[in-house]
Amino acid sequence: MDIDTVKERAGPREFGPGDDMPREYREAATRMIQFHANSEIMGAYIERPFIRQAPSLDRKLAVSAQVQDEVGHGQLLYRAAEELGIKTREEMLDELEAGDGKFLNCFHYPLDDWYELPMIMFFVDGAAMRRQATLKRTSWEPYAHAIDKICFEEGFHIKHGEDILRTIATGSKRDRERLQAAFEKWWPRILQFFGPTDDQSTHGEFAMEVGLKTMSNDDLRNAFLNAYVPKAKKYGLELPEYPRVEYHEADDYYEVYEEDLDWEEFFTVAKNEYPTGVGQIEKRERAQAAVEWVRDAIESPEQGGVSPAAADD
């Protein structure tokens, strides 16, 4: 199939493994789905300390289940990407460890404590859910299929995040102050979740043309703000003065002042070069290197796979 035919036919769940897709489409889809899959894994990495730190048995169960789901979503998405025939799951996971795999800006910042958890579990996951809902209509059918399952599971994550937010927001004055501080720290990153406004990136445009994406980043950001700014206010959170976000009632539009956001940091993050993000990637790399011996042992037991530890003896 040539690229013009792809653009002409592009529609919800239009293409699958049986179609002879041009390399350009397969590469663009791989880039997008791999980014999504990586984000699930690195998002799980951000949340995992709170399985241990959760302050009740039920919360611990819920956070553990959420982290488990994120890894499961990674599994589903790598599969959808793998079917494009560009990279295997192993290659994509190797890239992630090596620092070559890109993922969402918010997952480059580890969370300090429980007060910050709802910033990820409610706002960031809420933003992700907003985007994911539009991907049910993506043109790569295996991706849409994975999205169906992800959306099916993800609802409880955001509801649990909101429950944590509500519990803190209805606590002591000190709790509310700490929550507000966490919100002010995270709000600019959350605004940057959908990238720069009027994003002219060539990747984005192509993805729209071939039906991989179905909604522009601007529209997604606006839809997110429409739903979540009122939520923030409901829980007593005040939008900081900067970055300025202005609501235009006439056209139901939230204007985000680009110049108030730190785009240099954003693009450093995007390149996997921001220090906290580098730290997260290195943690993942160390953890994966530590279990490399297991994969060797199960993949080629007949070779007797001399373990590094044994070789050191």
Binding site: R52, P55, K60, S64, Q68, V294, R295, D296, A309
Partner: protein, 278 residues
């Protein structure tokens, strides 16, 4: 059959409580260590499976702690504000492990699950009905756990590197696994009143036979000395713990202390309300 604490003498109450605490604490702490594998497993699938096992164990802890609430405690007394020296779990479940030591995970799981299976079988006949009633649910999930660890042990044992790793884990963990069978001060009453009709000494003998047979079949050596010679200094059941326990306790109570609340939020109905066949 006894249906609740109000039908028990003081001595019997203490015995049921002691049995429940060891059950609940073992499950709670073993789950804490399992969750460390989340997002760190050798494959995505292994990661997702171990998360599930951790949640199962936490769910079991929840069932046993819930029965302790019948004795007038709440979750805060039982976990979040409990003196760490009052926890009665075996030292096996609290031990830390080196990064990437998947052999520790499966050996620990195997030793623990085999013990749990035998202990639950004994508790099916408990004269304390609330315990006997919940055994079925717990056992259902334990079968998966045991098969999972056995499958992994068999896979790993096929390679020399894997077998060596298993051997090292067995050498390290076996003495601590023996603390699963250490007595509390109430062992005699527990057995005499049929809270658990089978004494720990008998369970230990059965466990050693099963474990030694299976591991020997994989080409792994299992200690043969008497328990008295092998047991570590800290025994868990008497409130003595390894160094690792205190830091683990500080970590899992961190947010609870930081929030300064005096309750632990519930997100689900209590087990007895959740469904009738618990």
């Amino acid at each position: 059959m006894v249906d609740g604490p109000e039908e028990l003498s003081d001595r019997e109450r203490a015995a049921v409580e002691a049995e429940l605490r060891t059950l609940a604490d073992d499950e709670f702490v073993v789950a804490e260590r399992y969750t460390e594998w989340q997002v760190r497993g050798p494959t995505l699938e292994a990661d997702i499976a171990i998360a599930n096992i951790a949640q199962d164990e936490l769910g079991h802890a929840r069932l046993w702690y819930d029965l302790l609430e019948d004795f007038g405690y709440d979750q805060v007394d039982l976990i979040w504000e409990r003196d760490p020296a009052d926890f009665r779990h075996a030292t096996l479940v609290e031990l830390p492990f080196e990064d990437g030591d998947w052999a520790d995970c499966v050996v620990r799981g195997y030793l623990y699950d085999t013990h749990e299976h035998l202990r639950l079988q004994a508790l099916e006949d408990s004269a304390y009905a609330p315990i006997a009633d919940r055994v079925g649910k717990v056992k259902g999930e334990e079968t998966y756990h045991r098969e999972h660890t056995q499958n992994w042990l068999e896979r790993l044992a096929e390679s020399r590197a894997g077998r060596e790793r298993i051997q090292r884990a067995v050498d390290r963990l076996f003495p601590h696994a023996l603390t699963l069978f250490e007595r509390t001060d109430h062992e005699e009453t527990i057995v005499d009143t049929d809270v658990r009709p089978e004494p720990l000494a008998d369970l230990r003998a059965e466990w050693r036979e099963v474990v030694s047979g299976f591991l020997a079949g994989l080409g792994v050596d299992v200690p043969v000395e008497d328990a008295a010679e092998l047991l570590p200094d800290s025994r868990g059941r008497d409130g003595t713990h390894t160094e690792a326990w205190r830091s683990l306790y500080d970590e899992f109570t961190f947010t609870y202390r930081q929030l300064g609340r005096s309750e632990a939020p519930s997100l689900m109905p209590a087990p007895e309300e959740a469904d009738v066949d618990v």
